[in-house]
């Protein structure tokens, strides 16, 4: 994750706001009013881990990984969204802070498959999180069972096992898959599909509590939903729960090799918007298309053509690992 407040690149400049002085881990700093603790910390070169935060989206402060201690406050505060106040004394790595972060990681890793979430294994190590302490994972649920859960009603996992969100992958269209066993419910895809970027509103958070999940209306398959396959949800998903079919299939075949992939930036050939396209190429085959988050035209977004419409430059099924000699 980069340290630049990306979203500001895309917005017209605004009048400077009054300065606010605070200390972070004993270091003084002065930032503009309205700056978040996270931005202030980054200005001092301090990294605070985040999961549900993304520079191009409205903070939902749901994951609570970024919590920090503010002297005198009863509870910890989310650095990603809490604005600085004059005289604030912030601690970003106190014992209390590290405890909550470790627990957030343990709770997530014990209930969600984080195997394709970049950077999480390192964080789990760094915080000494032990997700296995809650018992072995309860058996996964069958397809559709979580979608049919009833708010306010639950069954406790068999003693000794830990409930998880494990369930079969939803493969209901040719372009991308939804593997909600990997979903940490960060709300990013909902924001990207909805008011922050795409304004399509094909998905929303449904259900409640541990049974909360990302869903279309009545959990209909994507082709029956409002989805326009822009894939902007895939672009923001921090865990790989949403994944282009090309990548999903290569991974399933054990043929996904990020270390040999090359990324080439070009301009989408389809229309006059001229989105910047990053083509991820593995063994001479395009396996994925993205747009750089920090690109001030796209903010990482594309439409269905730019995201998925590049099969014509290579043999059919090339991305799935066939058609190569």
């Amino acid at each position: 994750m980069t340290a630049t407040p990306l979203v500001q690149l895309a917005r017209p400049s605004r009048p400077a706001r009054p300065p606010v002085a605070l200390t972070i881990d004993g270091q003084s700093c002065t930032v503009e009013e309205g700056t978040t603790i996270l931005q202030a910390a980054r200005s001092l070169g301090k990294e605070i881990p985040t999961l549900c935060y993304l520079e191009t989206l409205e903070p939902v402060n749901a994951c609570r990984l970024c919590v920090v201690e503010i002297e005198g406050a009863r509870v910890l505060a989310p650095a990603c969204s809490r604005a600085v106040e004059g005289g604030m004394k912030v601690l970003t790595a106190s014992a209390r802070v590290r405890h909550s972060r470790r627990l957030v990681l343990e709770l997530l890793a014990s209930s969600v498959d984080l195997s394709t979430a970049p950077g999480l294994a390192e964080l789990i190590d760094e915080y000494g999180a032990q997700p296995a302490r809650f018992g072995e994972s309860a058996p996964p649920s069958n397809d559709g069972v979580r979608d049919a859960s009833i708010p306010g009603h639950h069954v406790v996992a068999a003693p000794g096992t830990a409930a998880t969100v494990a369930q079969p992958v939803k493969v209901d269209n040719e372009l991308y898959v939804r593997d909600y066993a990997k979903c940490i419910l960060c709300y990013k895809c909902v924001e990207a599909c909805g008011p922050d970027h795409q304004n399509t509103f094909a998905i929303a958070v449904a259900g409640r509590g541990f049974d909360a999940r990302i869903s279309t209306e009545f959990a209909v398959p994507l082709p029956g939903s409002a989805c326009v396959y822009c894939g902007n949800c895939i672009a923001v998903c921090p865990t790989g729960a949403l994944m282009a079919t090309s990548e999903h299939e290569l991974r399933a075949a054990g043929a996904w090799k990020p270390e040999v992939q090359q990324t080439t930036d070009t301009i989408c050939p389809y229309c006059g918007v001229g989105c910047t396209l990053s083509l991820h190429v593995q063994d001479n085959v395009i396996v994925k298309a993205t747009s750089p988050l920090e690109n001030d035209i796209t903010l990482g977004n594309l439409c269905v053509k730019g995201r998925f419409g590049w099969q014509f430059v290579q043999p059919k099924d090339a991305a799935a690992g066939e058609g190569r000699d």
């Binding site: 609570r64 919590v67 709770l107 209930s111 708010p151 094909a202 509590g209 541990f210």
Partner: protein
Amino acid sequence: MDIRHIDAEPTAAERDAIDALLGPPASSWDGGERGSERDAHTAVGGAAAREQRHLLVPALQALQQRIGWISEGGMGYVCRRLSVPPAEAWGVATFYALLATAPRAKRVLHVCDDIACRNRGAHAIEHELERTCGAAIAAEPRGERVALGEGDVAWMHSPCLGMCDHAPAALYTEAGESPREVLLGNVTPSSAVHALTRHDPGLDSSGTAVLPQRGDPALVLLARCGTVDPTSLDAYRTAGGFEALARARAKGAEWVIAQLNDARLVGRGGAAFPTGRKWEAVRARPETPHYLVCNADESEPGTFKDRVLLTQDPFAIVEAMTIAGFATGCNVGFLYVRAEYPLAAVRVQNAIDACTAAQLLGDFRIEIRRGAGAYICGEETALFESIEGKRGEPRSKPPFPVHVGLFGKPTVVNNVETLANVLPIVRLGGAAYAATGSQGSTGTRLFCLSGAVSRPGVYEVPFGTMLRDLLAMAGATEPTAILLGGAAGTFVRGDEIDLPLTLEDARAAGTTLGSGVVMVCGPGDDLHDMVRRIAGFFRDESCGQCVPCRVGTVRQEEALHRIAAGKTLGGVAAELALLDDVGVAMRDASICGLGQTAYSAVESAIKRLRLYEEVGR
């Protein structure tokens, strides 16, 4: 926004139910027949329709009440009428426990098996229903639904219905053209089966409050309860009603707020924030409009005082809300009453109508919004979201409601009991009011006594009354433990009853008065079971937004079940350490009060009652 709507058509009954709420559709743009004049060249909907978003929950409730569940066609029609994307409406519909999104029987009995009722016969009712009507509607974690509840009648478990003074309790709901919702107390296995299978629940008993102090001249907040007809405006006025409003208007808004400050009134919902300061802050905000919200979403297990006030003294709440609106510059007040209190909603609506007809409210308007089965909506910002037609997910604070509240405007939120205190303060003056109680806790307080007591009910006593004396009034002879403040509160031991009931003494003793719950556990009560039920409650009621609470409440409940099953991971001490690890993170890192207090009762059972020591040996 360009919404892709659901193709399925509503049935005639579904269309009727929605049109009865929203009026007929204007054109095919919002779900009407094609060919009307407005169809020709204009597009309607857009911003105007989206401003109706706050009607989403009432519209879904209309379907629920008419049909018994929310179908694709029905929800699709609601989405067209209100310009709501179907996925969002689905997110809302699946959030609330009393909305069904799969076919369900028209008649459902919701049987309370929460902490008060489970010790007073709930299980016998459930066994009898299981035997005669089949398994409860529930979801199974891996397989198919245990019971779809598609037959004529069905039943399900329910969290606390706010009827602990009449335990065991149940809520009967019947969908149809004349839907019925009846809250039942003192239910027996046979009366439950009768209500359901004969479609004959009898009369709602939530208004027939057990009022052990009825007629006591010392009562202030409960003075009219049980003695003045709650359905008659004349009776209320004869008993001195609307004198406070007249006085407030004569003296002016600043005077009213000064009285609240002199009275040192603090909120009775649990957070104990100074009411005068809140009112002052909203009054001073330049943005308009200002909103008033009366929080009647009383859902804390063990709490039923607001139910008594709303059903027994509804005019007082209307009068107090009008004073609050006057003092804080609000033209509209919303009263958000929990779904499980149908009679309270009827009585308050009746009071509003009568007062409006008598032109007593001036240009102040009160709208009732009914919850749909979600404890979290008692959290003030979740309540705003719910009124706005969204999932009841708490917002992060700051900004606080006095700055950015309902519909983004300055909002004053007060709990029912807090508002009830406004009337005596305006009548007596703040200083005289503050003569009762202690320095830090002025006035009287309502306590909800239930559990192992011979005279359960709502009691009004001055702050500072000893817990021992309150227990004696209710006839608690052998308390082994007392749950103070509800599921979000703490247990105290049976030998800790020499506690003056003030906010400051409770705090010093490491407990809380919270919402006024005093639930007594007797020698026959299974405390372990109660603690597990509390943990299950929080798992059910977490909104699911933040990780510490969404997963933490699950891990907490699992650990308690492991202890109960003798299948600990590394011994009881290790489980208690794990519970503490999870609990501290929930308290420190959760967004809202639900997660922050989800460990509170469990922790007190561990550290105060030392409940798990004998298990450990």
